[in-house]
Symmetry: C2
């Protein structure tokens, strides 16, 4: 595909917002202005704008203009939930020092119980990986990743210690397209207490997720157990007119 035309438009406007060139409350130039500026049709401009809307940067107002509603976030590690972002991406965006410790790395087969929980077919060969994320010296996150081996051949402890997603995207040329995540909270298990620096907390924030690749195959099931005071999940949403 010849590179998409809406993408540099999206990026350009987004950059203007993130650098403060367009501040909170400001109105963007009109769609027609952008049409001239980028030499494309209004449809293409609108496509870029609709992405910015979906991402919570702007709010279009019928008859008035498109307003910036984005303000930079504060000090905890912020995980964007309205978007797919790997742990490596989130922490680097938040400028934290992170060490990953591999707690377990093995190949297993899905039995009935695991199949029910994860959605993988019974008998599938799976990579089972447990990792501890140590952020600024504190063990804060206990990650369990289960990958469908047939789709992620070649994973190794060394890769897991670095960034699995970088491997999947760069080496296996896999495209991650859609994910579904659930956020709940649970009482801490003895395993959590043992592996994490929970301080006085006796509960954890649990995020479970399923990730699909571009072939529509669910190839990953993840559970992340977080110390509750150190993370938050942010999302922005646009109301459906249903």
């Amino acid at each position: 595909m010849p590179k998409a035309k809406y993408e540099p438009i999206y990026r350009s406007i987004r950059e203007d917002i993130e650098t403060g060139k367009l501040g909170y409350g400001d109105f963007l130039p009109s769609e027609n202005d952008y049409t001239e500026q980028f030499g494309c049709t209004r449809n293409t401009v609108r496509r870029a704008l609709s992405m910015l809307t979906a991402d919570g940067f702007v709010l279009p107002q019928h008859g008035r203009g498109v307003q910036v509603i984005y303000r930079p976030d504060e000090n905890r590690t912020v995980f964007t939930i309205g978007g797919i972002e790997s742990f490596a991406e989130a922490t680097s965006r938040n400028q934290k020092k992170v060490v990953t410790k591999i707690e377990s790395f093995k190949i297993i087969e899905a039995d009935e119980k695991l199949s029910l929980k994860t959605g993988f077919d019974i008998g599938s060969e799976l990579y089972y990986i447990e990792r501890i994320r140590v952020v600024d010296g504190k063990a804060l996150i206990f990650d369990t990743n289960i990958f469908l081996k047939s789709e992620t051949e070649g994973l190794s402890p060394a890769i897991a210690a670095d960034s699995i997603y970088r491997y999947l995207e760069n080496s296996l040329h896999m495209t991650i397209t859609t994910s579904r995540r659930r956020v709940t909270a649970e009482k801490a298990r003895s395993r959590d207490k043992e592996l994490l620096d929970l301080d006085t907390y006796d509960f954890v924030l649990v995020v479970t997720g399923q990730v699909f690749n571009s072939k529509g195959v669910m190839f990953e099931y993840t559970q992340s157990r977080h110390r509750p005071d150190q993370v938050c999940f942010v999302e922005s949403a646009v109301r459906q007119k249903v």
Copy 2:
């Protein structure tokens, strides 16, 4: 506005998925099929499909088709986080019996502390509302809603006991467009323990949110404190090609 044409298309396909007429893994009829079926252009069909994609129901695959990746959820009350949905909407979708108890209803003025926390200007007149949500006989959610009075004139305890959003949309003709929510977990405060049926749990799932209306005014700040085992938050995301 004359009713949008993509909207019944979106609803029709979504219903087919939710009722299982189109099951997990199935491919949808092609865009051209829908074009004929609904008597519109492909663009309009694509608009409906892109909404279904954003909502995590389907995954389009270039050259292959559009696949269903949605599976109905289990027994907890599921709150869609990738979408704006009022409590009344979520519970009715989950078929729960709900009673709302008004714990507090007053008009206050934003001081510096509140302003910092909520983002309202100092001196703004605000409705301050506390509500307990009793689901199937158990007090599970402690809601604090703060509304900008100038934008939501006429709120009353009676309305708060029913559905505030219904009032805003139907009576004040306000359009809710964008919200931003954060999910965290906290230790239960004495107030939580007093007002909620927390069972043995001593922590709560906290969702805070800011809601914007169609004029770009942030008119609501909300904090919901949930018993952790009875709710979960779901979102789905599409990876940006940036």
